[in-house]
Each structure stands twice: as C-alpha cells, then as structure tokens.
Symmetry: C2
DNA sequence: GCCCGGTTCCAACAAAAGTTAAGGACGGAG
DNA sequence: CTCCGTCCTTAACTTTTGTTGGAACCGGGC
C-alpha cells in the first residue's frame, strides 16, 4: 500500500479539527510507519501492557473496552480509519483498557520515540495531537451521558449518529446508510445493556420505522425521528478548527 | 492567601503523576493567578461558553456535568483542590459541559495566554499538563465502565473509593472517613440513577455495615467489604510517574 | 422558639432491563 | 450438500430501577 494512502485518512481528520500547515503535513508524512494486517476480533493492545508504539487505523474498525472482575465488558469507543486510538499511550505508559479489531484491519504502527522527536521539533504538531486526545476525551464524556442518562433506544441511536458523523468526514457514508460492524452482543456492551435487551431495542426502532440494522450496516429510514430519538448535538466532536 | 498556598496542591498533584524539575516548579509558581471566591452550587463555566482562562481549584469541591434535552443531568467527575478541571479549554475553545461548585470554593484563574506562553517556553511543563488531561480522560473511561456495567451499590462504592484515593494524595483523608459533599440527588446524577434509588442503595450499604454516608461525609465501616463491593483497581489513576 | 425550604427517607406501583432457555437463520468448513 | 458454530430472535420470568407522592428531619433565618 502506498505511503500517502496510509496517511490520507489521518491528515484528513486532523485538518477537520485543527488548521494545519503544509510543512507540518510533510513532517507527518515523513513519520516511519510499519503496516500490519490484523484479523477480526484480535487484541491490538491489552489492558496492563506497556506500549512503545501507537496504532494508526489505516482500514477497518476497532473498539476500545474494559472488562471488570465479574467478566462484563464495556465498550468505550468505536474507532475508524484515520484515528490513533492509543495516542494516550505516549504519556500514559501502561494501558488501562483494551484495543481490539472489530473487523479485519490494516494497522500502521508509529514508534513513541519518533512521535516524541516530532513533538520536540514541531510544537504545532504536538498541539494538534494534544487536541486530538482532548476530543477523544470529549467523546468519552458524551459516552458517559449516553450510558448514564438516556433510555436504551436513544442510546442506540446516539451511538449510531456519532459514528455516522465521524464516518462522514472520511467519506464513508453512503446516502442513508453506513457501516457499523458490531454484533448485537457488542452493541449491548457499548450501550451498557445485555445482548437480549439490545435485540429488543433494535427490534423496536426497526418496527417504529426509524432505522434498520442488519449485517453490520445501519440504514436510516426516517431521519427526523432518528435525530429526535438520539438527542444528538455534535458540538462535542469539535469538528471545526475555529471552535 | 499566600501565593504558595494557592499553588501547593497543584504542584503536589503534578509531582505524583510526573517527575518534575525544580526549574519547572519555579515556572509554575511564576504563573499569574487571580483568585476569586465562589458560593456553593454556582456555575464556573457553562456548556457552550468560550473560555479564555483555566480554573485551578484552590479549595472546595466542584463537579463537571452535562444536561440532556430531557433535563436529566449526568455528573462526569468530581474535582478537588489542586486540579484544573477545564484545562482542556486551552485547545477545545467551546466548553462541551458545565463546571459547577459543590461547596463554597476558592478558585484561581490562569489565562490561556500565559499557559500557552509557558508551554512554548517549557515543553516539559506542556507534557506534564498534557499528561494531566490524559489522566482525566482515563478517569472518564473508568466512569463509563462504572455507570455502564456495575450494579448500583458497586457504582456508589467505586465513586467513593476513587474520590478517597485522590483525596489521599492531598492529605484530605482522615482515618476511615473523608469528605464527599454531595446530596443524594447529586449522587444519583453521578451514578446514573434517580435520587430515590440512590437513597435505597445508600440505605442498603449502610445496613450491610459497609459504609456510612451522611452530611457529606463518608465513613468506611468495613474496609474489606468496601473494596470487594467497589471492584476498584486504581491503575487508571496513573498515580506514579514511572508508569 | 418557630417557620421554611431543602433534604432524607420510605412505600406502592409501573416500567425497564436482566436471566434463562430454546428455536431458527446464516455462512463457512469439510 | 450437510454439518457446525455463531448470531439473531423470541418467550417467560425475575430483578432492578423509575415514578409518584408523602412524611420526617434538619439547619438557618426571623
């Protein structure tokens, strides 16, 4: 795979949230990245591990999660191409959660050393990455609200819309449908409910003609109902450099 | 209030998670801070506002929260002296949540301009603050897990232990008891349950002889039961510079 | 002292979500 | 093509949590 394809989604995403100078783009394009293929459902980094590199998602979907003593698992975020989900490992050396592929994925690994050197050379790039981790943090805040306060059908719709708005930036929304490659079990883990209940909720929104979900794909049937149900306000994604 | 008292808790906290050089301490001690008194239950920054300064908690307790369209409120974190809960506003200019006092509080305000200048002058300090926002993020992740997966009594115990472990660092734990100045309504908002249910849960843990909670103070009755109930693993607090 | 507002506490009932169990659909391996 | 495992689907039942409404408590102000 050509080098610019590997970095394309990353640069595209950074541009959306930060104004970015051409020379900084060059710096990022010069970063050595080693690309590896991962099968579906494979751990990339595990809770408790010490990382020495960060993982850029070139293609495919990943999820971050934590598992508690009782064995229940909570999905913390869904991650899409162009993102570096474990950028935090640069300064938080021991992982406090898992990063796992949801689909077969192409992942690019960037060494901490090289990232740190880049930061020293270019404070602007460092700030851009910092901002990226802050947006990550904002998404966690909204996820807390989702799981803590919204009724289950709204939780589902909210996660779907968040994913859609992020996929839109990388040109991955196809009309009224987009990919969301999760099993109902995993949807339950994302929403803080059981798989059985996730199934009930999916059935309900389907019967109400709001969205269809099957084989890892969401199709919006009634955009207005969908938005109302989700109670979605995208400000927290901070998708504008001026804000 | 003397300047070193104002900064003491901040420096103390930074020392715990990052190794910090004496000259950096001097830089931080040279930061202009304007101190103001706030009454209890007063908004410090609101969702949607553009901030031009960050808020250091000198004394008192604060909480971060988001309110959804239905009016339900979710508390995202509790904040204690020495913390800068809105450090993220340096790069995420529009607030995506509220910061409110829980008690009468002494707050110190540091201008974004001065913080940015400090970052340019001392990348080490910048990294230290970055690390601080990353720990913040790690705490949100654990909060998601708490609200999403644990049974209500465990949620309560977990929030209590997290608060205690953080208070311990600033010398604010008194034997088997510590301050947690929340009403039952607010505890409900933190745990993602209603005030009525919060009351039921508090009653239950009290009857089981685990903890006592009244008038904003937690007293641990049975440390072992408390720990087991909370399912607490403090690694996510990253309270060690070497990790 | 006494009132007043905000808490705390509780009960009864309703709704949401968890548990268990089991049948059916679907896709890949042999 | 059939077998097998995973996922989806549903039902029946239990448990947890929300809702409503009201009583008791408590501290501060008059």
């Amino acid at each position: 795979m050509p080098s610019d394809t590997i970095r394309a989604a990353l640069i595209q995403r950074l541009r959306v949230s930060s104004a970015i100078a051409d020379e900084d783009v060059k710096e990022i394009e010069a970063l050595p990245i080693s690309v590896r293929q991962y099968p579906s459902e494979r751990a990339v980094v595990r809770d408790g591990e010490r990382a020495s590199e960060c993982c850029l998602i070139v293609d495919g979907f990943c999820a971050r999660s934590k598992t508690i003593a009782s064995g229940r698992r909570q999905i913390l975020s869904l991650q899409i191409p162009g993102e570096i989900p474990d950028l935090m490992s640069l300064f938080l050396h021991v992982m406090d959660h898992d990063l796992t592929t949801l689909t077969p994925a192409t992942l690019g690994f960037i060494s901490h050393d090289n990232l740190r050197k880049l930061h020293r050379r270019s404070p602007r790039v460092a700030e851009m990455f910092w901002r990226d981790t802050l947006i990550d943090s904002a998404m966690f805040r909204e996820w807390i609200v989702n799981v803590g306060q919204r009724p289950a059908p709204a939780r589902l719709a909210h996660v779907m819309i968040e994913l859609r708005e992020r996929l839109r930036l990388i040109g991955r929304v196809d009309g009224d449908s987009f990919e969301m490659p999760l099993t109902q079990e995993q949807i339950g883990e994302a929403l803080g409910i059981t798989a059985v209940h996730a199934n009930r909720v999916i059935k309900q929104v389907r019967q109400e003609g709001v969205v269809e979900f099957s084989r890892g794909r969401v199709t919006v049937l009634d955009e207005q109902k969908f938005q109302e149900l989700a109670d979605f306000d995208g400000r927290y994604l901070h998708q504008s450099p001026t804000l």
